[in-house]
Symmetry: C2
Subunit: 596 residues, 2 copies
């Protein structure tokens, strides 16, 4: 009963007016990315999302996955949708041509991902995990493994997974017990139990390629003794054909709050044959290639769910007649006014809108930097891009997913009691959204990654460059009358972020708990400033377009209104966040553990 319409115009605005894709035509691979091609891809992806994936979203939730003696059946319609998705090449957008990929920019792929996730989160996880596995193998596997596995993974004939968590450890991977015994022939025998493995077993692809963290006996303790292995469900012959079933099986699937249509598996490895990916004991850095990619993608899940939840709430708010506008009737001939006349309903909708549009721009700006890392000829540009992406990865993952939950909840609130019952589909959005702040590293882990690692990386180079860029942007634009109040607000937000950063430098060395105590609030503070910077770029683009008397001025005027909402109603949280950060760790850590 929910609907989804791909926000194509907004993608085009971000690509053409904010980023200016035409300015990058000299990048390898970008020369073919013409406006016509981009439009065609966006339109077609929007169609698949709306017409193929969204219609099986709610039924997929109600039916869920079923496990029977190791075999997992996905909901009705998923197999057909998967085949269409794979055959149409939606899974191969960014993969290299060597393996049958289309070599398209990540910036574009992020938008396609957002649409697919918005339409059907549970479904999109299947090909999404494959994409991350492909990138990890591409970066770290031997040529032989790449040749053997990547073409079928890129085509979607085979799918991929990532196996990290065990019953006794998730975040703390140093504790993993899964063993990899070398067989002397270049292979290893993998034994152990992995849990919470998304898409670990299902009926969509012919083979499933598991990337598995395990310890080779005799290696160093902790995370330094972890290696990464490729373990296929079916062994693959030299001719590329499927052979025997490998010693890996799905012991059960979890019953969860949401994402029912994606199988969350207990995977039992019982002497399964595996191949080393990268070097022995260097599994963590290799897995991080996959995880960093996946973390951004999880951030996009937050954005996607916010979009579809917002869309449905907006439709409802325009149609549901309840009460009269406090400023006088707006639908005098009807029994009541539509609830969109009520300022508090507007507040909920505008919060969704301001998050979504700003986040979409920030995601694309980050996507562009990923493309730079992979394509730009200049090493300095690549390094700068790498710094930016390293800084933004935890920010996008955490802020977007927290806001995904928040916006799904606000959208449900617009429906009143009708949002709480299953029929209308709004509560599914909230249940689905709630996994994202947990998986791929909880949002608290992201915050520690930001404060404990990313800030200090290379003497603070990444964060200082970010500050410099925001400062430069403010200076460049504060003379523009339409932008001045926004620049002033952004300057204040940036000042608070800088003050918080300074506070951390002065207080976290002597007392490391001050870093941990500040981490989540600091991440949110940086996210708001990054969003402000992205919104400021959107606003500038809108002002520039309006100056050129466009055919559709309303689109750009609405952009400026939504920007204003962000600066007036969302950015001010920077003030209270700074206060909380500066209060330090004492009030958090003073109680003895047994008092809780």
């Amino acid at each position: 009963m929910t609907t989804y319409t791909a926000p194509i115009d907004d993608y085009k605005f971000v690509l053409n007016d904010v980023i200016g894709l035409d300015r990058y035509a000299n990048l390898p691979g970008f020369e073919e990315v013409t406006p016509d091609l981009v439009d065609a891809i966006l339109e077609e992806a929007g169609k698949v999302a709306a017409e193929v994936l969204h219609p099986i979203n709610q039924s997929g939730d109600l039916e869920g996955c079923h496990w029977d003696d190791g075999v997992v059946t996905t909901p009705k319609g998923f197999k057909e949708a998967y085949d269409l998705y794979a055959e149409s090449g939606w899974g191969s957008l960014t993969a290299k041509a060597d393996y049958g990929g289309q070599g398209l920019p990540q910036t574009l792929a992020i938008m396609v991902s957002e649409m697919m996730i918005a339409a059907n989160w549970g479904f999109t996880m299947y090909p999404g995990l494959t994409k991350s596995a492909v990138e990890a193998l591409d970066a770290h596997a031997s040529d032989a493994l790449k040749q053997k596995y990547l073409p079928n993974m890129v085509s979607g004939k085979w799918s991929g997974t990532m196996n990290l968590t065990e019953p006794h450890c998730g975040t703390d991977l140093g504790q993993i017990r899964t063993k990899a015994e070398p067989q002397g022939d270049g292979t290893y025998r993998i034994s152990g139990t992995k849990i919470f493995i998304s898409a670990g077993e299902h009926d969509l692809s012919e083979n499933i390629v598991h990337l598995v963290l395990a310890k080779i006996p005799g290696g160093p303790p902790g995370t330094k003794g972890i290696s990464l292995f490729l373990v296929p469900k079916f062994l693959v012959g030299d001719d590329g054909g499927l052979g025997e079933r490998n010693g890996v099986s799905c012991g059960s699937i979890e019953h969860k709050m949401g994402i029912h249509s994606n199988a969350t598996c207990v995977m039992n490895y019982d002497g399964a044959v595996g191949w080393l990916v990268g070097e022995e004991h260097r599994g963590m850095p290799a897995m991080f290639t996959m995880m960093n990619e996946a973390r951004l993608w999880v951030g996009i899940q937050g954005l996607g769910i916010a979009e579809v939840a917002y869309q449905n709430a907006a439709v409802y708010a325009r149609e549901r007649l309840q009460g009269r506008a406090i400023s006088g009737p707006k639908n005098a001939d009807g029994p009541a006014d539509p609830i969109i006349v009520h300022p508090d309903v507007r507040r909920m909708l505008m919060t969704g809108r301001a998050f979504i549009e700003g986040a979409r721009a920030l995601a694309a700006l980050t996507g562009m930097q990923i493309d730079m890392i992979h394509r730009h000829p200049d090493e300095t540009v690549r390094r700068d891009a790498d710094d930016f992406v390293a800084l933004m990865t935890p920010v996008v993952k955490s802020y977007f997913t927290d806001m995904g939950v928040e916006i799904a909840s606000l959208a449900m609130q617009c429906f009143g009691g009708h949002g709480y019952i299953q029929d209308n589909g709004m509560e599914q959005f909230l249940r689905d959204a709630r996994i994202a702040p947990i998986y791929e590293g909880t949002n608290g882990v992201q915050a520690m990654d930001l404060v404990g690692r990313k800030l200090a990386m290379n003497g603070g180079r990444a964060v200082q460059k970010f500050f410099a860029e925001v400062t430069r942007f403010i200076a460049e634009n504060k003379g523009t009358a339409e932008l001045a109040p926004m620049m002033e607000a952004l300057e204040k937000g940036l000042g608070r972020l800088q003050q918080a950063t300074l506070w951390l430098m002065q207080n976290a060395m002597a007392k490391p708990d001050n870093a941990g105590a500040a981490s989540s609030d600091y991440l949110r503070l940086m996210a708001l400033v990054a969003m402000g910077w992205a919104w400021a770029q959107c606003a500038r683009a809108a002002v520039q377009k309006l100056a050129a008397s466009p055919a559709n001025p309303a689109f750009y005027e609405h952009k400026l209104i939504t920007a204003r909402f962000f600066f007036e109603r969302m950015l001010p949280d920077t003030g209270s966040l700074l206060k909380k950060i500066e209060s330090g760790a004492d009030s958090l850590m003073a109680l003895p553990a047994e008092a809780f």
Copy 2:
């Protein structure tokens, strides 16, 4: 797999040390409320909650209610638990002795409610709705109706419901279509459809007494033409025995996000016999007696769910070994430290704790004022109490329920992936919690009640008295060294609240949308100041106890630490809330409705 332990010591602290129950022994009915009696009731309620209700909480969620041809079956164990609950008198604590009640203070009943809700929300709604119906009938029904219905409702033999919502209207009750045709014999025939009727049909009680809003043909339009009727499931003979089935039936039950064990019913009235409660066309004020009571009680649901979610998260955080403390190992002999060593986990737990303990004190302070309204001999005291309760009702309803969702979500986050799967029970808390910001008037409606009605009531008398009381408290205590930083923070918060109030006075008359646009943020701002005031009273009580060298100083020291957390980490939001309020309605209202 979840556990619940009633926080008896904290209830005693609030009653004895913060409120000082012994100072009120001169109030009618309070003279018998001895410390021994209070302790016995709290202990016994805690036992019922932990040993009878909590063990059927998760099974009740999984099994849910079942509808078959109008008959609703509650989950296994509910009937036995209900009988025990009723027979032990838990439903009759506050009811008048005339009807078999125990006449105990609301202040105490609120604590008992919190325990029962924490243990099993879905179950507690059945007797909870009866309690609200009893109070509405007691206040508005004729003596004949009271004599006939109240004794069996108070005993729990019969239960009660409230029937407001219809498919096309919830908040906007002026639109209701349910008709009540006078029969000339003092009865009415009720026809229409009501939806979202909690406990509308079930197998727990012998009869169900529906309080139904309906329109008598020919009456005034809108809410001024609404009357309240009593419509029993089974007609009651003059001898009090049950007669024929009345013309009301349950057409179906909803499938919902949570509170599965409570039947949410579509109720079809098909010429059912009803009796007028109160006067014709005066149904709204009568229903508000029930709703105001119910709104506070819904706030307590937020508190209760936060408590049980927090307790389970605390246990998990003390036991789950993952990572090492940033300040050095705390469990060096083990494979890792318990996650409670991590400051960000502490932040989540302390947020829960600081909300819960402050909210518990604020709820009790409000409960005392309800008792004053009903019992105090001095009219001025009663009027002041009434003002305070009117002001706090929307604040408690909205803030407590929003925080119930927030704390349930944070508690789940402490569990990581283990929180998202059904087995561990944490996701049920979040699903259950999510209804409370919606029902009994959405939190947005509460915010408009506060800003649009309660602030202006009697020329602002209620809010001015609240400001004066907080100001007086600050002045009285800021000389105490241990309290000074808290008083300073509270003073700042109060100043912001006063500034926001002034802004509303200056800006909402000319442009009413400014009131609506500010309403939710204003409510949150007032809630934080009210919480700060309640916390300040807890802190003062702790300081006074510590000065007397108590046997358990740790309890009071921990109180001061948690108070400090509230003032340093939660109260600062007042700053950003004021900024948002003062930005006005423009950025919310500028977009045309069709742009959404």
